[in-house]
C-alpha cells in the first residue's frame, strides 16, 4: 500500500518539475520591432512572451513581449 502512494507521489513531483521546466524553456522568436537592438531572431523563455494566435489563421502562433505588449513576435 505504501508503494502505491509513493509511486503516484513521485509522479506528482516529476509533473511539478516538468511544468516549471517547460515554463522557463527557451524558444526562438522573430521580433519585428525590439525595444533595444535591431529586428531579428531572438531567444526568449516562455515566461518572457505571451502567446496569442494570429487572427483567422489556424495553428500559427504569434506572441507579444510581456514587457511591451505592442511588440508582436512570430515563430521563425
Amino acid at each position: 500500500m505504501k508503494r502505491s502512494v509513493s509511486l503516484a507521489a513521485i509522479a506528482a513531483l516529476f509533473a511539478i518539475g516538468a511544468a516549471f521546466t517547460t515554463r522557463y524553456q527557451v524558444g526562438m522568436w522573430n521580433v519585428d520591432h525590439p525595444e533595444n537592438g535591431s529586428p531579428g531572431i531572438y531567444t526568449l523563455t516562455a515566461a518572457q512572451v505571451k502567446s496569442i494566435y494570429c487572427p483567422g489563421v489556424n495553428n500559427v502562433e504569434c506572441a507579444y513581449l510581456v514587457t511591451n505588449p505592442s511588440v508582436i513576435i512570430k515563430k521563425p
Binding site: 508503494r3 509533473a15 494566435y53
Partner: protein, 144 residues
C-alpha cells in the same frame, strides 16, 4: 505483472498528466483564458472554465494519490478524459478553426494526435476502474 501494480502505474501516469496540465495552465492563466475565449463552444464560460479545469485536475490527482479514494479518482479521471476527448472530437468535426487550449508540451501536439493521446488515457482510466473494482469486490467478499 500483478494487477495491483498495473493500477499503481495507471494512477501514477494519470497524476503526472493532470498535475502537469493543471500547473501549465495555472502558470500562464492569462494565455489559457485567452485561448478558451477563442474556442467556439465555451466562449461564454471561458473565465469559469479557466479556473475550473486546472482545479478539477488537481482535485482528481489528490483523489488518485490517496489510496482510499483511488477508485473515485479513477472514475473522475475517466469522466474528465471523456469530457476532453469529446471536446476535441467536437472541435475536429464541427469547428471552423482550431485554437489550442492545452498546456506545456501538450500544445505541441496536433489536434488529431491530442485526440489519440486522450483516447489512450481514457482507456487507461477505464482499465484502472475495472481492475480496482474487481479488487475491491474481492476485499468486500473476503470481509463478509
Amino acid at each position: 505483472m500483478k494487477k495491483n501494480t498495473i493500477v499503481e502505474i495507471i494512477a501514477a501516469l494519470l497524476v503526472f498528466l493532470f498535475i502537469y496540465a493543471a500547473l501549465s495552465k495555472l502558470l500562464d492563466l492569462d494565455k489559457f483564458k485567452y485561448q478558451l475565449g477563442q474556442s467556439p463552444f465555451i466562449t461564454n464560460i471561458s473565465w469559469f472554465a479557466a479556473w475550473a479545469i486546472p482545479l478539477g485536475e488537481i482535485l482528481v490527482s489528490v483523489a488518485l494519490l490517496i489510496r482510499r479514494t483511488r477508485l473515485a479518482g479513477l472514475y473522475l479521471s475517466f469522466f474528465l478524459m471523456l469530457l476532453f476527448t469529446g471536446y476535441i472530437f467536437m472541435m475536429l468535426r464541427y469547428s471552423s478553426y482550431l485554437p489550442c487550449s492545452c498546456g506545456g508540451v501538450l500544445s505541441v501536439m496536433s489536434w488529431k494526435q491530442h485526440f489519440v493521446f486522450n483516447l489512450i488515457f481514457t482507456g487507461l482510466s477505464l482499465l484502472g476502474i475495472a481492475i480496482e473494482n474487481t479488487r475491491t469486490n474481492k476485499v468486500i467478499a473476503a470481509m463478509q
